[in-house]
């Protein structure tokens, strides 16, 4: 009391007259700085404090410098420190109405300009007194809110600064701890260096400890704040993310999500499935799910490592349970489904884990029928089903339990499951055929048995009810597209599906592809007549067909085998009004795909026929315009990458989801090729085209790639030219060589023939000669014989010479 009387005496003049405020403030500042007695100084400070709310400007202008000086000198004196901190806090807190021109900004500037002031406040944190600490933390928060950069800079360069602030988290007095937490949250916003130092000071561990002490996610707002701070430390900060993982903090997440090693115990499972979700718990859970997502952002370098740790330590398991079998409210479930999606995206382990998981089915409908309290026993008496099946059930809204945002999240999770996962696509495609009705395993289920695929197909084809909820078809079409995407074997399975009245007569049975196209035709007609076909249904069907026919000549042939299909596309494209521009664009794209992948298997409609139709009946320019209008339509351009529903849209009725981002990417990658090949009839069809997985969102990157492509194109055309020349050269050379060769061959032939005849002659002559020799020999022999006979005869003659002259005449004849 004494303080007050002394202080306020200053307000009175010598004659008891009130003084001006300026004079009073000046007098108090003077006393606070110069009085010899500590008590007088304290009294003057209290006096200033009394004036500071009402006369902020006056006190601030005259007093700030002096007060800071006193604080520096007398910081050991709690009774001095406390009110000064309070005054500074008041001076720097802007009035709500007019914060931009507020004097508070000026005073804050004045204080933070000198970094030694911030250091002073950080030093004062060592004081344990409750009010000193409290006001000091508040003052730092106030300054930080107005001048974040300066304060962050000062704290960063004060070697002990952050470690003093971190000590606040260990303060047993809850108010101080909570204020410190809030200060750290704003301090770590957008400053990676501070984030790292805070993490270095064991923030993760300390915060997780507090969360556990405060009863985990069931705890109050303090838990949310702790999680928020962890989030700040991890977001965009790879180094801290590594630190978080390396210090085994990921392993501490599952217990927080009510996961336990004792989960197998039935009682615990019930407890888990029937939790009470109060508002704060919802908020806490959402921040924690956000935290999980930050560690597994698609395409980050560390994502796969983090995913694997999370799969291994049970984060994925808990997230699946919250998503698909807990009693969590929709808003939690949709966050949880998005987290689930990122946990398994592109990760084979995660995808396999999800595929193997079966989840209990909670069925609130049943308990309401019983008209009793929702009994957990009823809820889990329905046999569990595969998690994948549950995803589809949620996405197509088969049980009418979830809102659009949760259904979109489930669809996105499904997409992540099939992303880079050919086996998953095939397994799902193989379930498209409905299981037999008399399946003995399905007795318990009242409804007719369904597989994941058959459930999907029935949702896909039930478009007639789509006025109220076009998203049954739309989500089903997105899911179905992901089963078919770039997978010819899945398409083959799908081509094998027929619907009919049970007859085996295939002529009357309708194939799935034709059913979808038929539905599209009916829906198009109804849409044109402003009846109950939402444009989303048309878009959904068209997107499926584009993905189905892409790079699949057999499917193209099947599609074109019904001439009405082509007619419908042409009619839609050529209408000048009354047809949605997006639908027209998709029709044009689909027609282009039919052209591109028509390998003339069907003699009825060949590539050139199609081209003629396209150029004559539609015209190239119109064709391109339709595609361009689709590309420029806002829902196409701004398709949500994560298939997210903006809550405000739902409030207005239906969400504004028209295109799946994956389809948009697929379209962007390919539409130019389609356009080019139609314009240039000689362009080669690019069957077996496998596009790169390039996903660029940066214009400069795109242009740089375009440049590269241009130069490469030039190079290619040059090379092609030179190849042509070389080929020609080769051809002519080949020709001349061939000529030469054949003439030489001829020559050889004739020579051969001559040789042959000559040899034959030779042989003949030889033989003749031989014969002649023989003849000569014979002759000689006979000559010899005759000579001998002659000699003998001569002898005889000489003997009977005189007797017989006729014998001599005979001898002469013989010679």
């Amino acid at each position: 009391m004494d303080f007050f009387s002394r202080g306020y005496k200053g307000l009175l003049g010598e004659k008891g007259q009130p003084q001006s405020v300026e004079d009073t403030v000046a007098k108090l500042v003077d006393r606070a700085s110069n009085s010899t007695l500590l008590e007088d100084r304290r009294a003057a400070i209290l006096g200033l404090k009394g004036l500071s709310r009402e006369y902020r400007q006056e006190v601030g202008e005259k007093g700030i410098g002096a007060l800071l000086h006193i604080l520096n000198e007398d910081k050991a004196d709690i009774d001095t420190t406390k009110p000064i901190l309070e005054i500074l806090n008041i001076l720097c807190t802007p009035d709500r109405e007019d914060s931009a021109t507020d004097v508070a900004i000026k005073f804050t500037d004045e204080i933070v300009q000198n970094s030694s002031n911030i250091n002073l406040f950080l030093d004062i944190l060592q004081e344990y007194d409750f009010y000193v600490r409290f006001h000091d933390v508040q003052l730092l928060s106030t300054l930080l809110a107005i001048k974040p950069d300066n304060v962050q800079g000062c704290v960063l360069t004060a070697p002990m600064g952050i470690s003093r602030l971190m000590d606040l988290l260990g303060d047993r007095r809850e108010i101080i701890r909570n204020e410190g937490l809030l200060l750290l949250i704003s301090l770590t916003e957008n400053n990676a260096d501070i984030q790292k130092i805070v993490a270095f000071e064991n923030a993760f561990e300390k915060l997780l400890e507090i969360i556990t002490e405060e009863d985990g996610l069931n705890g109050g707002i303090i838990v949310q704040d702790c999680l928020h701070l962890i989030l700040n430390l991890l977001r965009y900060n790879v180094s801290n993310q590594n630190f978080f993982r390396e210090t085994s903090c990921i392993q501490k997440i599952p217990p927080l999500l009510s996961f336990s090693a004792e989960y197998q115990h039935h009682g615990f499972e019930l407890e888990f499935l029937t939790q009470d979700w109060h508002e704060q718990k919802i908020a806490n859970t959402i921040v924690l799910l956000e935290l999980i997502k930050i560690l597994v952002v698609p395409n980050n370098m560390n994502t796969v490592t983090n995913q694997n740790v999370m799969i291994q330590c049970g984060v994925l398991k808990t997230v699946i349970e919250i998503s698909l079998s807990s009693n969590a409210p929709s808003v939690v479930k949709s966050h949880s489904l998005y987290a689930l999606a990122d946990l398994i995206r592109g990760n084979q382990n995660g995808q396999e884990y999800l595929a193997k998981t079966v989840v209990p089915v909670s069925h609130p409908l049943q308990s309401s029928e019983n008209n009793a309290k929702p009994s957990p026993f009823n809820q889990i008496s329905i046999p569990p089903r595969p998690a994948i099946m549950s995803l589809i059930v949620v996405a197509v809204g088969a049980e009418h339990l979830e809102n659009y945002s949760t259904r979109a999240a489930a669809t996105y999770a499904f997409e992540s499951y099939t992303f880079n996962n050919i086996n998953a696509q095939l397994v799902l495609a193989s379930t498209l055929i409905p299981p037999p009705d008399d399946n003995p395993n399905s007795e318990i289920v009242i409804a007719k048995p369904q597989s994941a695929g058959s459930l999907l197909l029935s949702a896909l084809l039930e478009w007639e009810d789509s006025e109220a909820d076009p998203y049954v078809v739309w989500f089903a079409s997105v899911i179905f597209s992901h089963i078919l995407m770039n997978n010819e074997r899945s398409k083959e399975y799908a081509r094998g599906i027929f619907f009919g009245n049970g007859d085996d007569n295939e002529e009357e049975n309708l194939s799935l592809l034709h059913s979808i196209a038929g539905n599209l035709m009916l829906a198009t007609r109804q849409n044109a007549e402003r009846q109950n076909a939402d444009v989303r249904v048309l878009i959904g069907y068209l997107c499926i067909l584009c993905i189905w026919l892409w790079d699949s000549p057999i499917s193209v042939r099947e599609f074109l085998s019904e001439s009405g299909h082509l007619q419908m596309l042409i009619t839609s494209i050529t209408q000048s009004s009354g047809v949605d521009a997006r639908v027209q664009g998709l029709c044009a794209f689909l027609l282009g795909i039919c052209y591109e992948f028509n390998h003339n298997i069907d003699p009825q409609i060949t590539r050139s026929t199609l081209q003629q139709i396209l150029l004559n009946r539609i015209g190239y320019d119109q064709f391109v315009n339709r595609i361009t209008r689709l590309r420029e339509s806002p829902h196409f351009k701004h398709a949500s990458q994560y298939l997210q529903v903006v809550p405000e849209e739902v409030a207005k009725g239906l969400p504004e989801l028209y295109f799946d981002y994956v389809f948009v990417e697929f379209f962007k990658k390919n539409y130019e090729t389609i356009q080019r090949s139609i314009r240039d009839p000689n362009a080669k069809s690019f069957s077996g085209f496998k596009g790169s997985d390039y996903q660029g969102d940066n214009d400069s990157v795109i242009t740089s790639y375009k440049d590269v492509i241009h130069t490469q194109e030039k190079e290619i055309s040059q090379l092609k030219e030179s190849i042509k020349q070389l080929e020609q050269q080769l051809e002519s050379q080949k020709l001349s060589a061939e000529n030469q060769l054949s003439s030489l061959n001829n020559e050889i032939d004739t020579l051969k023939k001559t040789i042959e005849t000559k040899t034959a002659d030779n042989v003949k002559l030889e033989k003749e000669r031989e014969d002649l020799y023989d003849c000569i020999a014979d002759q000689e022999a006979s000559v010899k014989k005759y000579r001998e006979r002659l000699i003998a005869l001569n002898q005889e003659v000489s003997d009977i010479e005189e007797e017989d002259d006729e014998g001599e005449g005979d001898d002469d004849d013989e010679e």
């Binding site: 960063l156 360069t157 070697p159 002990m160 600064g161 952050i162 470690s163 990676a192 260096d193 790292k196 130092i197 270095f200 000071e201 064991n202 561990e205 180094s239 801290n240 590594n242 630190f243 390396e246 210090t247 085994s248 392993q251 291994q312 330590c313």
Partner: protein, 212 residues
């Protein structure tokens, strides 16, 4: 898998020294066993971790690799106090990085815990032909200031393992002797959960052993 996450001790290190002496490369060689000749300039501070074995104890080293540039000096100071080990690195081919050691040492002594083990490292020992600081000089400096000393090559991995492990050995020795208050994590040491829960803080048990 889960055994990977159990440890007997966690020890925090920092790596300091002029820019371009190879701090990040030493860390990369130690944690990933690879060498990256064109390493980006470190911005602020980067983190790495690895297990080492000292006397049968599983010790997890958490290492903060700091930016050597002058402009980051004020930020990196915040890490000194919480570290139990510091690797002070210079480049044996650049005299000035050796000449700056005193400034670094002063900084470290001023801001760090007095029990911090400091290892002086002359890096790039593979570049013998360009050597500008002799081994003897490095050794003498270390001796004079009570530091451990080693010459390493982040490129060939020569002595890299040893420099980290020997530092850990010294710190573990200090833990056993009770030099550190291991209950206070701000000293850069954390005791594994199983050691804590059994109340067998090495302070008491190992002192007993030493008596025998």
């Amino acid at each position: 898998m889960s055994s990977n996450y159990t440890y007997d001790y966690i020890i925090k290190y920092i790596i300091i020294g002029d820019t371009g002496v190879g701090k990040s490369c030493l860390l990369l060689q130690f944690t990933d066993r690879r060498f990256q000749p064109a390493h980006d300039l470190t911005i602020g501070v980067e983190f790495g971790a690895r297990f080492v074995d000292v006397e049968g104890k599983k010790i997890k080293l958490q290492i903060w690799d700091t930016a050597g540039q002058e402009s980051f000096r004020s930020i990196t100071r915040s890490y000194y106090r919480g570290a139990a080990g510091a690797l002070l690195v210079y480049d044996i081919t650049r005299r000035e990085t050796f000449d700056h050691l005193l400034i670094w040492l002063e900084d470290a002594r001023q801001h760090s815990n007095s029990n911090t083990t400091i290892m002086l490292i002359g890096n790039k020992s593979d570049l013998e032909s360009k050597r500008a600081v002799s081994y003897a000089e490095g050794e003498a400096f270390a001796q004079q200031h009570g530091l451990f000393f080693m010459e390493t090559s982040a490129k060939t991995a020569d002595n890299v393992e040893e420099s980290f492990v020997d530092t850990a050995k010294d710190i573990y020795e200090k833990i056993k002797q009770g030099v550190f208050d291991v209950s206070n994590e701000s000293n850069g040491i954390k005791v594994g959960g199983h050691l804590q829960s059994k109340n067998v803080l090495p302070l008491t048990t190992d002192n007993g052993n030493n008596c025998c």
